[in-house]
Symmetry: C2
Subunit: 319 residues, 2 copies
């Protein structure tokens, strides 16, 4: 029996991150995994705080996710949203009834003074999530996109406009002043392995890394850090990543992705088809795990997680 890391910390966004998290949660003993979630795409709807990445992680890790669409609660209804629409409220964000239960509770707890970290931890525990979920920061941090229609908030661009407006720049409003969640710092401090999920680097991972105290803690950690490429053969498994990278004049390749993470990565898991394209990175000292990185359901995610965990042992041996 090979030793596996006792504590794993993952940086993750929504759908792809949640799938990877589920794989690790299945591969590791209970209590081993903490997922630090992007909060840059949080938004208020009707005065309620919606945290799409946290929620996708929660629902996936609690096995409530609508697996066909990758987000939202399975078999949810939209009665509340239908009424809101009838009442003349904008209703382009598809929020289900079960979903509203969580948003109402979170907003109520926030108004009562609880931190987003406390609330998220409690929700993960009560809903039966198989891993800890920690927001990158309890402070306000919002991803804004400069598009050909001017500066836009994330959800109006992502959901409202289906990612159509061309993006030329991003900023993570509030990130510089944001303090890292104390729970995130604790998780990083005790981590034996750090995983950067195959989430969108620009929209999911960089808003996490933009929190100064968080990137400092990650840099200070002696745990190896392994990224998983969100691109396969230059294409994203899901979402607007490849086009976004091109629009922002970033090469839509594994090397392009790795370039966004600076010195953070010690290793990078890439698709077999991309192995040749990362030889340069390898020469510069990045350990490469070429494998099948497509997560075909929870079993596929677990298979990939196990490969990464095994590979991480070789990194430790090499330190």
């Amino acid at each position: 029996m090979s030793a596996i890391p006792g504590k794993v910390v993952m940086l993750a966004g929504g759908v792809g991150g949640a799938r990877m998290a589920e794989g690790f949660a299945r591969a590791l003993p209970p209590g081993s995994l903490s997922v630090i979630a992007n909060v840059g795409d949080d938004e208020e709807f009707y005065g309620l705080r919606v945290c799409p990445d946290i929620d996708t992680l929660l629902y996936t890790l609690a096995d409530r996710i609508d697996r066909a669409q990758g987000w939202g609660v399975a078999d949810d209804t939209v009665k509340a949203l239908d009424v809101l629409r009838e009442l003349g409220a904008p209703a382009w964000m598809k929020l289900g009834d079960s979903d509203f239960g969580l948003h109402i509770w979170r907003s109520w707890r926030l108004a009562g003074g609880a931190s987003l970290s406390e609330i998220t931890g409690e929700a993960a525990s009560r809903l039966g999530a198989r891993a800890g979920i920690v927001p990158a920061s309890d402070d306000r941090l919002r991803t804004k996109l400069l598009t050909d229609q001017g500066w836009m908030d994330f959800q109006p661009w992502f959901v409202g406009k289906r990612c159509e407006p061309k993006v030329t720049a991003l900023r993570y409003e509030g990130a510089t002043e944001a303090r890292p969640s104390p729970h995130a710092l604790q998780a990083i401090a005790s981590a034996d392995l750090i995983v950067v999920a195959p989430s969108n680097p620009l929209l999911s991972i960089e808003p996490i890394l933009a929190v100064p105290g968080l990137i400092d803690a990650l840099s200070a950690s002696r745990a190896p850090c392994i990224g998983v490429s969100p691109l396969i053969g230059g294409k994203a498994v899901k979402g607007p990543l490849a086009r976004l990278m091109r629009d922002m004049e970033i090469e839509p390749t594994c090397a392009g992705v790795a370039s966004r993470y600076g010195d953070l990565l010690d290793a990078f898991a890439v698709a077999n088809v991309d192995a040749d394209s990362v030889v340069d990175l390898q020469c510069r000292g990045l350990a490469i795990l070429p494998t099948d990185i497509l997560m075909d359901g929870p079993h596929g995610a677990e298979r990939l997680a196990r490969e990464i965990l095994a590979f991480s042992q070789t990194l430790k041996a090499g330190v």
Copy 2:
């Protein structure tokens, strides 16, 4: 064709009031009826403003009501509430998913600075209610009950404890300082007939009359005012009225009800079975309409409304 009052104003609470309002809405041309609703049993749940009497009026007058239970939206689901319960929130108030849509919207609009009157009017219009619905006041006004377990808020007593704690006193917190809704004053100023619905006098009508500017306007109106008894043979059709009156040492009779309204009433519709018991009131100048006051569905309510409208013409003739 006998002339009917051009504008009717009704004072109403929840279930019984909504049934009576539906009857009048069916009997009158569109735009004739304004219902001034009790707000004393409003409550915040999870930071959302719930107005049970307004909502019962809205759902009834928009033909969305769950007719079997008399409140809530027909065929509603409780997914949001189920999640709230899972998350450890108190969940004794049965709020459905469609219901939550309205509460979310109202709370959002209130937070944005709209008045409860504006919001309620807009909801009535958008949801297709067959009458105007006006809160008695836009200010905070809450019915509190002194019980054998101490002072209680209304909903925890009414729903949470199923009216079980014995009540010895009531107060309508905030009523003295509350300003009447300007919409309510307008409706009263143009009223040709004022109807006091067969709602609970102590819990539904008196919190309305407790708003000084409102009782002043009602007293100043020259329109005849007719009450409808909520008791038949000393028993309430629905709800805790008879026991509440006994507990508060008020005679649970039509005369006991009428005594709560001071000089407001010019006439009183009572059950045939109660006609003999109100001879004293009649001698003191109150016009009595003895009839079948049990509203058996919308048709029964319409029948009663038409009788009251016809009777009101005799009152006018007598002024």
